[in-house]
């Protein structure tokens, strides 16, 4: 696994997670990353999963069946299928916007949510907004495909404020990364 080509499929997704960071910058980061490679043991599992015929329940969870697309200040908004925390949309921010004075975390946990309008699955990055006291408004806790600490990038309990000047948790956004 350690030899997969960052210029291939990986890099496209990487750029999305970096929110438009230059390809050169991303490759540099990835170089370092391969050394640390904390989650590469994940891949075989996922690949194995990928083979299973019944592996795509996104469209069918109770959340997905009841999700709406009109109000991003409600917990049942479609992108929030795996969010945990205060919605930045209720805290002076927006679906991908931190409230004034907060700082978006460059990394996040991810979810794969269904847009009821096209029935398609989309990759969502739940970027925490950091550096301000807990907003404590519109607290949601949705758990579609949400896992435990040993798969951190799919766990929504962790304070995802890494690489920010302060790790104080304020609220969470749901940034569209792309079609899943």
């Amino acid at each position: 696994m350690k030899t997969f080509d960052p210029d291939g499929l990986g890099e496209k997704l990487l750029r999305r997670f970096a929110g438009g960071t230059s390809r050169r910058g991303m490759l540099a980061r990835l170089g370092t990353a391969i050394v640390a490679a904390p989650v590469f043991p994940l891949l075989p599992v996922s690949r194995a999963e990928a083979a299973k015929p019944d592996r795509s329940p996104e469209a069918k969870t109770i959340f997905a069946r009841n999700a709406q697309t009109s109000d991003d200040t409600k917990c049942d908004y479609w992108r929030y299928c795996a969010i945990d925390g205060s919605l930045c949309s209720c805290c002076g921010g927006g679906i991908h916007t931190c409230p004034a004075g907060a700082e978006p975390s460059p990394v996040s946990w991810v979810g794969t949510c269904i847009n009821p309008e096209d029935g398609k699955a989309y990759l969502i990055a739940y970027r925490d907004c950091c550096g301000k006291a807990y907003c404590a408004k519109c607290d949601c806790n949705n758990t579609d495909r949400e896992t435990q600490l040993y798969t951190p990038q799919l766990n929504n309990d962790i304070i995802w404020c890494f690489g920010t000047t302060s790790m104080e948790y304020h609220c969470s956004t749901a940034v569209l990364v792309g079609a899943a």
Binding site: A28, L30, A33, R47, R55, H96, T97
Partner: protein, 389 residues
């Protein structure tokens, strides 16, 4: 750290996307239809007359910024528990006087005034000060001079003093001892005034080499009929409006030698007998932590009133009374929900009352009709602040 974290995510996305797509790498290599969004950060306008600010309370830090027209939350100024916020008259900054220990509940105490720019709510600097009083719910422990050049922070150690901050130079200037007095009142060109335990008003001329403190004659009784801490000051009239537990309303002309006006009873101004500190006597009394709000353009005072006996000065309100200070008449009374303990009023032409209480449910009320325009849950218990003309 950042680099490996990005890889963490990328691997996750990779793994997960493979999973949900059925594991064809080729499929992923193909361009994805939907473009990714960028994360961004909101910036705010300069504070507007229709805005109000509610401190959340004793447990959660923060002062929430709301638009009274829409009832929408605009953002949050970082005001830790027991801190005091003051506004830059020019609208460029929010100032927060606060006390923080290096290890949360212990360690080294740090007292400072933090300067936030009003657009980005980013920390511009921390101005260290020698100390400050730790108390909740007060509006007059940290005031800024009308020209925006000076900040005055009340300190109680428990010796009583005032820390003067040079906001232009952004540094602590000096401490002034103020025995027996508290609650700071702007005094343009002079310094500040304060209320004292002997029932007088002290005035502190700060500009000289040594501060000069003068006192008026006693005009209220600090232990039997105290003046509420959260009085209101009218810059245009250079007038202080005060109210006592029994409901005596008085004004003071603020100058180097303040003069105190004749008090009148809010109850008598409403056509009923005046408030009486005698036990067992039931009447309408003012109450709450922030029991009154002054609409300066019309010189109208809005007061939180409740039925009860004396020494119920913290009780929440059943009615709001509007007092025409020029005519010394109560011009309107209307009922209010939620037993509010704090009230403010926006200073624009079509004013909005904001009330909140222990339940932290704020209500935006049209004082012309008493109608509730917005009800906001989890808004905070106050104090409430507005933009003053």
């Amino acid at each position: 750290m950042k680099s490996s974290s990005l890889a963490t995510i990328s691997a996750a996305a990779l793994a997960f996307t493979l999973g949900s797509l059925g594991g064809s790498a080729a499929a992923l290599a193909a361009p994805v239809s939907t473009d990714p969004e960028e994360s961004d950060v909101r910036t705010l306008d300069a504070p507007k007359p229709g805005w109000f600010f509610i401190q959340r309370g004793f447990v959660i830090g923060g002062t929430l910024i709301y638009d009274s027209a829409s009832g929408k939350l605009l953002g949050q100024v970082e005001t830790p528990v027991l801190s005091d916020m003051a506004l830059d008259p020019a609208g460029k900054a929010y100032y927060v006087a606060q006390s923080i220990w290096t290890k949360g509940t212990r360690g080294v105490r740090q007292d400072f005034v933090t300067v936030y720019d009003s657009a980005g709510l980013k920390v511009q600097t921390d101005i260290d000060i020698p100390g400050r009083l730790l108390v909740g719910g007060r509006k007059n422990n940290f005031i800024v001079s009308e020209d925006g050049k000076w900040g005055f922070v009340y300190n109680f150690s428990p010796a009583s003093s005032v820390n003067v901050i040079d906001l232009a130079r952004r540094k602590f200037a000096k401490a002034i001892e103020l025995p027996g007095c508290a609650d700071l009142i702007p005094n343009p060109g002079v310094g500040f005034s304060a209320l004292c335990s002997d029932g007088s008003m002290a005035t502190v001329a700060v500009m000289g080499v040594k501060p000069v403190i003068t006192h008026t004659a006693p005009f209220f009784n600090a232990t039997t009929d105290p003046v509420f801490d959260n009085f209101a000051y009218d810059k245009a009239r250079k007038q202080l409006v005060m109210m006592t537990y029994t409901g005596l309303v008085s004004t003071a002309a603020i100058s180097a030698r303040p003069t105190i006006g004749e008090p009148f009873s809010i109850q008598q101004a409403a056509g009923i007998r005046k408030g009486d500190p005698a036990p067992l006597e039931v009447n309408w009394f003012p109450g709450g932590g922030q029991p009154m709000a002054l609409h300066r353009p019309t010189n109208t005072l809005y007061v939180l009133m409740h039925k009860g006996e004396y020494w119920t000065h913290k009780d929440g309100a059943e009615e709001i009374w509007a007092v025409d200070l020029s005519a010394k008449k109560v011009t309107k009374r209307f009922g209010v929900e939620g037993k509010p303990e704090a009230i403010e009023v926006t200073q624009d032409a079509a004013p909005r009352l904001i009330v909140t209480g222990d339940d932290e449910v704020a209500r935006v009320i049209d004082p012309a009709t008493g109608a509730v325009l917005h009800t906001i849950e989890k808004a905070g218990s106050g104090p409430i602040t507005v933009i003053e003309p």
